[in-house]
Symmetry: C2
Subunit: 298 residues, 2 copies
């Protein structure tokens, strides 16, 4: 590739920038970034890119355009760049929720332009270009969305792109994607946020110093609950339908756990507590985590 | 100290054994362990101890006796050792739930014998003597329980003991302990179990291969939900009163989150998502976790 444009250079955008540079995938990487703070960070870090807002000049010559902003930013930017886009331009994004966002994209994008959506299953609780990692995508799944109107050629090029930076590629439609990730990613984040919120409310109520003793479990949730609030608001709102269902299933199960504790249902609770271990074994077998005990980080 | 007896040599018992040996705190460490599998592991690992069931000979000469079994085992063992216990024997345990277990201990323990309860805030999702770590307690809190009938001399000796193996000691009564840890430890574990259970149910319903894509958040919960089921059943049952209240508060908050998503209440959800970040900052300031982004373990 010659020219790549990354729109939004936070954790994911700057990790892609580093990965593309590291693997020498493009000759030139352009960055569009609206945050002045991020721009000054990128300059200070001397990231190998050219910061630009000259869409007119750059977009017609692009091989790849990647949206790395929160979902809520897409519309505004699409309307800005629409007139410069060409049918050959390969456009993708890295958003965590697909069905609703692709509906919006289809509505707003100029006719005859293709958008091929990606979702790299990688990230962290920190935000900003200073935290980017060139190996962030290495050995991680990247989901590519294939719908009726997906341009096969673009899908193929994108698949090669993600593989080059080390990802494993899986292809599915947006509906399946949003169902799966409502459960494996969106609900876990919501639950972590809710747990930390509950602990905070409780601390205020009781006036006990709880956080000091958070190493027993709360600590790990607090890390997940420190993730970027704008990104997650957008994900929750965009995948509303599936997340609401996931919450209901979660609450139903929690009521069942509550009954087990209330009435000391030994058999029932042990069955639940053992079942979850099998999932852990599967996760390790599938190399989604390492098989090393965690004693807390030092 | 001359002689220490550890009853139950799993993850915590064997970590204590290693820590005591490492810091040369006792001349001789005795182990009582009912699991034949664990006994053979202890022998294979050549842990510096003597495995015994000769309570009659050993208990009268003990400086310290530590229960490291699940809470549900206490009664049986107390009844077995009662007749050999002396008022000078310092007895402690490492259980995660205190109020109900101390009630039971008071009822079952021979009159004139003192029990001073400990709770080291340290552990992992793995079980068994092969996973023990001599530094498990280093820089971690250990809660000592002080009640009306607590023998001050014993409390003082125990406090010194935990400090010697590197712990920071905090003293509180069992009621306060159980309230705090219902929120910082028991609820988080229950929630992790419930999340993994919900994902499993969902996978069966949808016949999608979810676990493969668990790196987006579910993975981290699955680790916590792989903890020992007997230990956790006992903790949940013993701290029932506080845990049921914590579940109710959690569900109330989750309903509020659900409404925010359902009606796209921007202000309200952003407030929630930002609040939790403050907790993270506090946790890092209090050195309950390190300030290093987590990109998944490799």
């Amino acid at each position: 590739m010659k020219n790549v444009l990354i729109i939004g250079c936070g954790l994911i955008g700057s990790s892609l920038l580093r990965a593309i540079d590291n693997k020498k995938i493009a000759k030139k990487i352009f960055i569009y970034e609206k945050s002045k703070l991020n721009i000054s960070k990128i300059r200070k870090l001397k990231l190998p890119c050219e910061i630009t807002n000259d869409f007119k000049k750059i977009i017609p010559n692009l091989d790849l355009l990647i949206f790395c902003t929160p979902l809520g930013e897409y519309e505004k930017i699409i309307l800005k760049i629409n007139k410069y886009l060409l049918p050959k331009t390969i456009i993708t994004d890295v958003g965590s929720s697909k069905e609703k966002s692709l509906e919006l994209i289809k509505k707003k994008l100029k006719k005859g332009i293709f958008w091929t959506s990606s979702h790299p299953i990688a990230g962290s609780e920190v935000s900003g270009p200073e935290h980017g990692e060139k190996n962030l995508f290495y050995n991680k799944w990247c989901i590519l969305i294939k719908e009726k109107n997906t341009k096969k050629k673009h899908l193929k090029t994108l698949s090669k792109f993600w593989k080059k930076i080390g990802s494993r590629v899986a292809i599915m439609d947006s509906k399946k994607h949003d169902t799966i990730f409502s459960m494996t990613s969106h609900l876990p984040h919501l639950i972590a946020y809710n747990l930390v919120k509950t602990a905070t409310d409780f601390e205020k109520q009781k006036r006990y110093d709880l956080i000091k003793f958070s190493a027993g479990g709360l600590r790990d949730f607090s890390r997940i609950a420190a993730s970027n609030e704008i990104m997650w608001r957008d994900v929750f709102f965009n995948n509303k339908k599936n997340i609401l269902k996931a919450i209901d299933l979660f609450i139903k199960n929690l009521h069942s756990f509550k009954r087990d504790i209330q009435f000391k249902n030994n058999k029932s609770i042990i069955k639940k507590l053992i079942e979850t271990k099998q999932v852990r074994k599967k996760i390790i077998k599938l190399k989604q985590d390492i098989n090393k005990p965690d004693f807390g980080r030092r």
